[in-house]
Symmetry: C2
DNA sequence: ATTGCTATTATGTCTGCACATATTCCAAAG
DNA sequence: CTTTGGAATATGTGCAGACATAATAGCAAT
């Protein structure tokens, strides 16, 4: 019995077997370290991992307890659209539908929380083997862009951003909606079809970077393992 | 400059500032440890964290490089439905629509990958302040259930499972679909409405536990911060 | 030119110790 | 009885050193 993964497995087994029922306090790290014959740091590594997964709840001094109403935490991978298409073995394509400066509509302003005046409005249709895959509707803060503007007909705004404004913070949400006329036409599906929508809002430390809505073609699935 | 979070911040700053461009190899842990005046373990902690977030890619001997096409990793919290309803400040309710032993249909068998004979088919409508919130369609391996059966009209199968079969592994996927007749009627929405669907498949080490499809009422959003 | 072995090297993990920090609990003071 | 102020304690984080492991790169033999 050595290695933090072995410890993690053993702890999980005890939880599953109800040796440590839901909601109960488990022995402190020092005790477990002695029992398993490893250093406390090793136990700590294992328990921290389980806490990150939502299986355990830890508080200083209070000790470690088995989560009573476990909140499963799943990790989603959010790749660049081109990578996603190519991972399916399809040919990626891109069509720039719109690229102009304009005043963003109120809902977009509300999500960004700040008015920076006119923003660059970009609409891009991403293609997988020629068929519509994702319709991207983006509002971009022009202050963060270089002059001259990148050629968004050659590289999607999506990809340009991850390559140049990387690792900003933001939020993301997923929902189901009925495709409106424009989206249905662009994706080549019936108007009113159920489509999977990803909405993302990205911030630099001081100013908004971008708000984007990705409308995925019907049949799209977002998956992960638990 | 001490503490692994400070190191993480500094490394992120260098990536953002292009001091370490995308795709390049960064100095080995030992060098960074010396530069920052901390132990290698501290640098390791910081870099590992960034690797988990998808900002860095690490390989033994090959070294650590800044991810070229960063795959953002977002963590989703998947709570028990009752907790989700109550977190919105609404009153949780539950209606058991169906509970019977039956042979699961082929698509369900395919997802489970194994035929264990008849399974318990449970349909539950979860209510938020009296309105339909989620329609749960579940197939449950009866071998894992106690006798007599739990009262699924009082506690939802969803909740009974997390409390009794906790921490199994599985996969989960999200999609958008048009509500069929039954779902539309149960949720009280127009037939064909776009609904958000969560599909989960859970396994014990040896046998399947459950397959479940959650059809969320229109307007449902799944969100997280990046 | 190709294949196969080996040395090198960067990360992964462990140990044992130490101190920091948060939080509970109990006791003393008001 | 309530409040306040330690003291105790469990986790968080740090350090230095060591060995394990994986993968590359270079050299040698075919």
């Amino acid at each position: 019995m050595a290695g933090w993964e072995a410890i993690r497995t053993e702890v999980l087994a005890r939880i599953r077997s109800r040796a440590w029922p839901l909601g109960t306090l488990i022995p402190p790290e020092a005790a477990l370290a002695q029992e398993f014959g490893v250093a406390r740091a090793t136990v700590n590594r294992a328990l921290s991992e389980l806490a990150r997964a939502g299986v355990l709840e830890r508080k200083r001094k209070a000790g470690t307890r088995v989560a009573a109403l476990p909140v499963r935490k799943a990790t989603l991978d959010i790749p660049v659209i081109r990578a996603e298409v190519e991972a399916r073995g399809e040919v990626y394509g891109l069509r720039l539908l719109l690229c102009e400066l304009a005043q963003p509509p109120v809902p977009v302003l509300a999500r960004l929380g700040q008015d920076v005046g006119e923003m660059l409005h970009i609409e891009t249709l991403h293609l997988a083997s020629g068929r519509g895959f994702v319709l991207e509707d983006r509002w971009l803060n022009p202050a963060i862009l270089p002059t001259p503007l990148p050629d968004f007909a050659a590289i999607s705004a999506n990809e340009w951003l991850v390559a140049h404004i990387s690792y900003a913070s933001g939020d993301i949400s997923f929902s189901a909606e009925a495709a409106n006329d424009a989206a249905a036409a662009a994706l080549g599906v019936a108007q009113g079809s159920a489509v999977f929508v990803t909405e993302r809002c990205t911030w630099a430390p001081d100013a908004p970077i971008t708000w984007v809505r990705l409308i995925h073609a019907p049949g799209y699935r977002l998956s992960t393992v638990l």
